[in-house]
């Protein structure tokens, strides 16, 4: 119900109640006055008749008495006038047959009848005595202090009631007119002075709802004027806040460039426009290579500064109508409307690469950031936001695989790879249930004499349809999906169980080195390891955990804490694939390792590249200086082995020593080692390699 209607209804209600009460009391008072007048008139007539009646009574002049009764009965508002003796018996017979009360009270009395017998008249008096519309009055007829008879008069309230009804109708009509007039007037005033202004506010509110911030005209200083002022202030505040929210929702706070949301909106818009005008356009995904290193080494503030600088540079290479958006982290999106020619797109991408690669001075250090760019073209590489972004992302992923500062256009083959990756992901979910994983063991021997020291546990996946899956393919996948935790725990359990079995067989398996994922490290590893060691009753020193440098990038302090507690348990650590990552010496200093494993990429060129030899020598020397044992991975030739001995490498691992062995083969190896001398065992290992 509308406010004005409700207001008017309330006013009408109040007026109605007020006027009804007024009418009630007015009519009641008037009714009492009229009744008093009526009874007074009856009294006057009654007294008059009572005054003149004695003579007629004393003279037995009943005809005259009847005339008196007739005169009284025919008076207005008189129902009956009857003279009765002191016993109440009528002495007159006249009855006004025209009076409805009489006819109603006395059966058989007709309108033209004017006389009834005493008995009927007495009955009539008795009946009318209790009639609500009749006021009975009694006037004694006295002569010389002697009551001769009584004049009984019945006064009708009918006329009074009719007057009251008529008055009520008149009052009702007058009040109805008053109420209608007042209601209309109030409605009009209310409408002009309140509703119109409220409607303006409502309309302005609706505008605000549609995002249109219009000010309401303030036409007075009253409450509504103050409301309008407050509304305007609120609208301004909302507009400011909405602009702020809009900016926050659509722009990246760091770079002041559109964010993912706005980028997608613009991409949608561009798709619609391109579809309508049959244009082509290009979508680029740009990812900064090794940005984490900058963050980690120079701090996040510096990393943010770098992102701002790179963003600025990218923006300068683009047209006004182009969109540069930061999707998150070090990932940018570039939308090039009406640019469908691959060569031109390539030119733009080259300029963007060049812009990002310019050396930058950050925190006093010159930093060079390279980037990878993936490009998808509309409509060839997709006609939807999802497909274009996914394909540009795929292309960028491919570009990143190619190495530093590369550009990659999307091809359909990339999609095939993606599909393959997805399928692999799904298969990986079932790998433990299907028991498709198994562990192999690659021995690690002492470099000096070839004595067996331990083994690295390596994970293998025998896919039922695709055969063996390269760990380099499925391990990152498992890490990205989180399945690496279950898989890593399975490896740890498997290794522990084998250790216990071999120990129980009286063999000497040495220590087993198990690779550890960074995800695994943060998922209750201490409890898991503690449980495994206790379950298999193994001394902690028999397990060595291998971690790569990238594990240490995430959170120095948390990782350091975990490693410290594991180390306190007696577990040893080795830094795996040293040299392939950031080779940060700070890691060696910050984290306590027992062993450093030189990546095979350094060992392979060892004999042919003098610089490689120098590098390996330096690493070994550095490790020794930090009291770290050194394991050379990927030793495949005797020359390499000899050179590593010369370089004072501590341990070697590689196909020269032994390829990874399945559990049975490794058990056989351990049996053989247990049966021969140390030298013979070492020779044996060398020969097997």
């Amino acid at each position: 119900m509308r406010l004005a209607t409700r207001f008017v209804l309330i006013v009408v209600g109040i007026l109605s109640v007020t006027l009804a009460i007024n009418t009630y009391f007015f009519l009641r008072s008037q009714g009492m006055t009229l009744e008093q007048q009526l009874t007074e008139r009856g009294r006057v007539v009654g007294h008059l008749i009572a005054l003149i009646s004695p003579e007629a009574i004393l003279a037995f002049d009943f005809l005259t008495l009847n005339e008196y009764a007739r005169e009284v009965s025919l008076l207005r508002d008189v129902v009956y006038g009857v003279i009765v003796d002191n016993d109440g018996k009528p002495l007159t017979s006249f009855v006004n047959g025209s009076d409805q009360h009489n006819r109603a009270s006395l059966d058989g009395l007709e309108a033209g009848s004017n006389s009834v017998d005493p008995r009927a008249l007495q009955t009539l008096l008795q009946r009318l005595a209790d009639h609500p519309d009749v006021i009975p009055m009694d006037f004694p007829i006295i002569y010389e202090d002697r009551t001769l008879a009584h004049l009984r008069v019945g006064i009708s309230r009918a006329e009074l009631k009719a007057q009251a009804d008529e008055q009520l109708v008149q009052q009702f009509a007058i009040y109805a007119i008053i109420i209608a007039f007042l209601s209309t007037a109030i409605y009009l005033v209310f409408r002009c002075s309140v509703m119109r202004r409220l409607e303006q506010l409502i309309e302005a509110s609706r505008h605000i709802g549609r995002g249109e911030f219009k000010q309401v005209r303030v036409s007075s200083r009253d409450e509504l004027g103050q409301l309008a002022e407050a509304f305007n202030a609120m609208a301004t505040a909302i507009a400011d806040e909405q602009a702020k929210l809009h900016y926050q929702a659509n722009y990246d706070a760091l770079t002041a460039q559109p964010n993912r949301h706005l980028a997608i909106e613009r991409l949608k818009q561009e798709i619609r426009s391109a579809h309508r005008h049959r244009h082509r356009f290009a979508l680029m995904f740009i990812d900064l290579n090794d940005f984490k290193v900058v963050n980690d080494t120079l701090g996040h503030a510096t990393g943010d500064l770098l992102l701002k600088l790179v963003s600025g540079r990218l923006r300068t290479q683009l047209r006004e109508e182009d969109t540069l958006a930061r999707l998150g982290g070090d990932e940018f999106l570039v939308l090039l409307p009406r640019t469908g020619d691959a060569a031109k797109v390539k030119d733009v991408a080259d300029r963007l690469l060049a812009a990002t690669s310019e050396p930058t001075l950050l925190s006093g250090r010159e930093v060079v950031v390279h980037s990878s760019i993936g490009i998808a073209l509309y409509p060839d590489d997709g006609e939807t936001v999802e497909s274009l972004m996914a394909n540009a992302d795929n292309a960028m992923y491919q570009a990143k695989r190619h190495g530093r500062s590369s550009i990659c256009f999307f091809t359909q083959q990339m999609n095939a790879q993606v599909r393959e990756r997805l399928q692999l992901e799904q298969d990986l979910n079932k790998v433990l249930a299907r028991n498709e994983l198994y562990a192999v063991y690659q021995p690690i021997c002492r470099c000096a004499d070839g004595a067996y020291a331990g083994a690295e546990v390596l994970l293998r996946w025998e896919h039922p349809e695709r055969g063996p899956i390269n760990p380099a393919m499925f391990i990152p996948l498992a890490e990205s999906t989180g399945q690496i935790v279950d898989i890593g725990n399975w490896v740890l359990c498997r290794a522990a169980r084998q250790l216990r079995r071999w120990l129980d067989q009286g063999l000497a398996p040495g220590h087993l080195a198990v690779n550890l994922s960074r995800v695994q490290l943060l998922e209750g590893l201490e409890q898991t390891l503690d449980q495994i060691l206790r379950d298999h009753d193994l001394p902690p020193r028999m397990l060595e955990l291998e971690i790569t440098e990238n594990v240490l990038l995430d959170d120095h302090y948390q990782v350091a804490d975990v490693l410290a507690r594991l180390r306190a348990m007696g577990i040893s650590f080795s830094l795996d694939d040293f040299g392939t990552g950031y080779s940060s010496l700070s890691y060696l200093r910050r984290f306590s390792f027992d062993t450093l494993k030189i990546d095979r990429s350094f060992i392979a060129p060892l004999c042919d590249d003098p610089e490689a030899a120098v590098l390996v020598r330096t690493i070994i020397a550095m490790a020794h200086s930090l009291s770290l044992a050194v394991v050379a991975e990927g030793v495949e030739t005797h020359t390499q082995l000899e050179l590593l001995r010369e370089l004072d490498c501590d341990y070697v691992q590689g196909y020269l020593i032994s390829p990874p062995l399945c559990e049975d083969e490794f058990a056989e190896l351990l049996v053989r080692l247990a049966g021969g001398t140390k030298a013979a065992a070492a020779i044996q290992v060398s020969r097997n390699g």
């Binding site: 003279a59 037995f60 009943f62 009847n66 002495l91 017979s93 006389s115």
Partner: protein, 306 residues
């Protein structure tokens, strides 16, 4: 007037047949004179005063009997003046002083004034020239004979000079052995009220004319079926019309003839109807001897009407 007009042409015609012009002229002169002289003589006489006793209000009396007076004036060729009295005493004074030439009153009045007036006619009401007095009681009263009225209250209509409402009923009571002291006599204003009083049980009996109960004024006021005649007197002649004793016999006869003849023609019946009568009957003094006999027993001789 119309009777005198018919006689004159017949005389003239007989004289014409005799053939004597002078005789004819003389005869015509005589006849004209004879026709003119009586009229002139009557017109010169003083009007006849017709007194009506105040049985009713003067205005009503005048309304009822004015047509009769007019008729008599026209027929007699002499003005008949209707005289109404303001009350009975004034009327009776007129009677005693013989001021009225013609008078109408009740039987008692006539008996008491018969030394000055002689009756010539009587009323016929409801087709009857006689009336009777009666004693009425309520049917539910249990009274079946007059003796039971001893010690009771009896209402009489009018006063002690009311022939039908008092004298005749009192005569009945006397006949039954009830002296005036044996019952309480009260008087109503008029006869109908006596029956109404009885009807309303204000009294035990009522004395009135035997036909009173049939009068419309009574039947409209009460239920007559609740009352009954306890006793009725012998019929006596109705109200008298008398003329002063010194009125010439011819005139009195003429008046009597005019009154009695009213019911024979349309105009007369209209006059009678107006006077609430059905006719006049011829009467003479001897016709009122029964009244005299009754009155002598009921009303002391010295008592005059009041």
């Amino acid at each position: 007037m119309s009777t005198v007009g018919q006689r004159s042409p017949e005389a003239a015609t007989s004289r014409w047949r005799a053939g004597s012009l002078s005789g004819l002229l003389l005869a015509l002169s005589v006849l004209v004179a004879a026709w003119w002289l009586p009229v002139a003589s009557a017109a010169a006489e003083p009007p006849l005063e017709m007194g009506i006793f105040p049985r009713r209000h003067a205005t009503l009396t005048n309304e009822l009997h004015a047509p009769l007076a007019d008729y008599l004036s026209r027929e007699l060729g002499r003005e008949v003046r209707l005289v109404t009295a303001r009350d009975f005493d004034a009327f009776w004074a007129g009677v005693e002083q013989a001021q009225f030439d013609i008078v109408h009153y009740n039987q008692f009045h006539y008996v008491r004034s018969s030394d000055r007036y002689r009756v010539i006619a009587h009323n016929k009401e409801f087709g009857s020239g006689v009336v009777a007095g009666a004693i009425y009681v309520r049917k539910d009263s249990g009274i079946t004979n007059l003796a039971q009225l001893r010690g009771r209250t009896i209402v009489f209509g009018g006063g002690r000079d009311a022939m039908m409402s008092y004298i005749l009923p009192s005569y009945l009571l006397l006949q039954a052995g009830l002296q005036p002291d044996d019952y309480e006599a009260v008087f109503s204003r008029n006869p109908p009220n006596s029956l109404i009083a009885l009807y309303y049980k204000q009294v035990d009996a009522s004395g009135a004319g035997d036909i009173l109960i049939d009068l419309p004024v009574v039947r409209e006021a009460i239920d007559p079926d609740t009352l009954m005649h306890l006793s009725v007197t012998e019929p006596v002649l109705h109200l008298p019309w008398a003329v002063r004793n010194d009125m010439p016999e011819s005139l009195s006869r003429r008046i009597q003839a005019l009154l009695v003849g009213l019911e024979t023609h349309e105009e007369g019946r209209a006059i009678l109807k107006r006077a609430q009568m059905t006719g006049f009957g011829a009467a003479e003094d001897a016709d009122y001897d029964p009244h005299r006999r009754i009155i002598e027993q009921v009303v002391p001789a010295a008592e005059a009407p009041r």
